[in-house]
Symmetry: C2
Subunit: 196 residues, 2 copies
């Protein structure tokens, strides 16, 4: 079975791409992030919710605030990466639904009335978009270093107004020296897939 996706693209996005822990000094410009977003924005979310919001941490002062909220093992690489992005879910995404999902008149009201359902949907769909974004970074010829180890409440408080919740922090750049360890094992098809 051959995939429709070219081998080069398979390698760029999945097979050769690796999570990077070190980076070169080459900067990552806004135009690169624009190109990534302009690609991954098309990938699907439920009811076209698009709850992902991205904060690019560019000033030394903001970088320092963020590094202090990362788990100890993530601090040095977050301090050194050419670009760091905070990926968060907008818990008020439903405000945009009349424009984003116009044929379902009641969608916004349904989420207004149920805060728990809204938060769950924001998290789920923004997490899909985190994955799309990671592959988008690779599509731009860059390496991503996504991280889950941080003080989430602290980041929400420092960088948002209570209406967003952080899902991941991603270092972005060209991979540096010893950027990754050997690839870790993957579960086999038969361990993951069952048929009923």
């Amino acid at each position: 079975m051959t995939l429709a996706l070219s081998t080069d693209a398979q390698n760029l996005l999945f097979r050769d791409a690796r999570t990077a822990n070190t980076f070169t000094d080459e900067p990552v410009g806004d135009e690169q992030v624009r190109a990534i977003y302009d690609l991954v924005k098309y990938a699907p979310t439920a009811m076209n919710q698009q709850p992902l919001r991205i904060v690019l941490v560019r000033t030394p002062e903001a970088r320092e605030r963020l590094v202090g909220l990362m788990a100890p093992g993530n601090r040095a690489k977050t301090a050194a990466a050419p670009l760091v992005a905070i990926l968060a879910a907008d818990l008020d995404f439903h405000e945009e639904l009349p424009r984003l999902f116009p044929h379902a008149a009641g969608a916004k009201d349904m989420f207004s009335a149920d805060e728990a359902k809204r938060a769950q949907s924001a998290r789920f769909n923004a997490t899909l978009q985190v994955a799309y974004f990671i592959l988008g970074v690779r599509a731009a010829g860059l390496a991503a270093g996504p991280m889950s180890g941080f003080d989430a409440d602290g980041i929400d408080k420092e960088f948002f107004d209570g209406d967003h919740t952080v899902l991941a922090v991603v270092n972005i750049g060209k991979p540096g020296e010893n950027a990754w360890r050997d690839r870790l094992p993957r579960l086999t098809y038969d361990e993951v897939v069952t048929t009923v």
Copy 2:
């Protein structure tokens, strides 16, 4: 700014690909799902957790049970799709960590001791893998119809033993007639990305 990913691959995965609501009768074989998994298994999860589990619903009896648990608007297309996959998070993923993340001796015990943290990590990382899987379906030249509208507790009870939680149900096949409506609007870069 040009992406490293070829235009053909951009189109296949993001720009031309669409969520399908109808499919042709052409079957989707296990070898196609194997090829998809063999690609997307390489995409990253935190601590290499890989909590995604996939149930392929192939028997008419299992399909009927699933269709009855879908939201009304999702029933007809779930009944008609060539293949339906239930994508779930394995809440006991930590049992595999000594093998999947061998250099962190305490990882399994950390998750054993904290069920809430384990469930949150299972959901987050398996949701990343749902997104990788959707793009993998597209990489195989197929269309995906991911759905969030279903009775999640009912699916967990019917198809799992209490140690998994469903995240998405995905119809898979070649797109049929009127497979999708016009593309809905996307948020602009400036609505999504801010810089600090």
